[in-house]
Symmetry: C2
Subunit: 152 residues, 2 copies
């Protein structure tokens, strides 16, 4: 028998959902304005940037970002159109496609990342007490577990 949520749980839940929506929307608008790409695409560039030689297999990127393959394919096509990323043919398994940052993509990251990080810190993280940062890291880790496992 599922017990009803407590009022405080409702507060937390509503806060979380609203935060999730607003956070995505805000980051999206910001990056779209500054760099002409949506936040999700910025995530792709960052993920590549963190990889050795700034490149990785499609499916690895997809898994890391929790993108569907289809979504990633579409996204990479657009990023390629903008010259930020390029597809490289792998030597071995001919099914795999490797994506890498172009020079232009690399420049975008170098330009945008510090600004982005500072902005986030100034407007969001800095408002939290140090122990709240700690708590947030904990809490999101737990929630992610719950979100990862199939759910349905």
């Amino acid at each position: 028998m599922p017990e009803n949520p407590s009022p405080r749980e409702q507060d937390a839940w509503r806060g979380l959902v609203l935060t999730a929506q607003l956070l995505e929307a805000t980051l999206d608008r910001q990056l779209q304005q500054l760099e002409g790409i949506p936040h999700a695409y910025y995530g792709i560039l960052i993920a590549l940037f963190e990889q050795p030689e700034h490149r990785a297999r499609m499916s690895d990127v997809a898994q890391r970002l929790r993108f569907s393959q289809s979504r990633l394919t579409h996204a990479v096509r657009r990023l390629e159109d903008q010259g930020l990323v390029e597809r490289v043919q792998g030597d071995g398994d001919r099914r795999v496609v490797t994506v890498g940052l172009t020079h232009e993509g690399l420049q975008l990251i170098r330009r945008a990342a510090p600004k982005q990080a500072a902005e986030v810190r100034r407007k969001l993280l800095a408002r939290l007490a140090p122990e709240q940062v700690e708590q947030l890291a904990e809490i999101t880790a737990v929630l992610l577990e719950g979100l990862e496992e199939g759910w349905r």
Copy 2:
């Protein structure tokens, strides 16, 4: 001079962003499957449900949900097509449009809401310790402040 984020801040930040993305995606998939509407539209129905007579002005709904007017217009059109919602002409100011739940919309809420709440509780909130729920409510309240004020 913006100080660099601490490693723990990065954990919190990454966790938050991933949680936000995954949460939206998960709720979306769930409601799309069960009720044939995206999570955002479910939010509209809930917002109306909580209003006296289950109806409200377009702009009030938009403000409460942080939707753009355009987004809400499109959304309401589709919800109307599905018979879940109806536009009512206001008596006074002829610019305002009032949206109300139809009988069918009301039924959908009554059917879906308890299931939805239980699911959320079981898969997410129940994993958190009571003090973490408290902390999450606190933290999201702070973050929402930061997200509300223009940002740029």
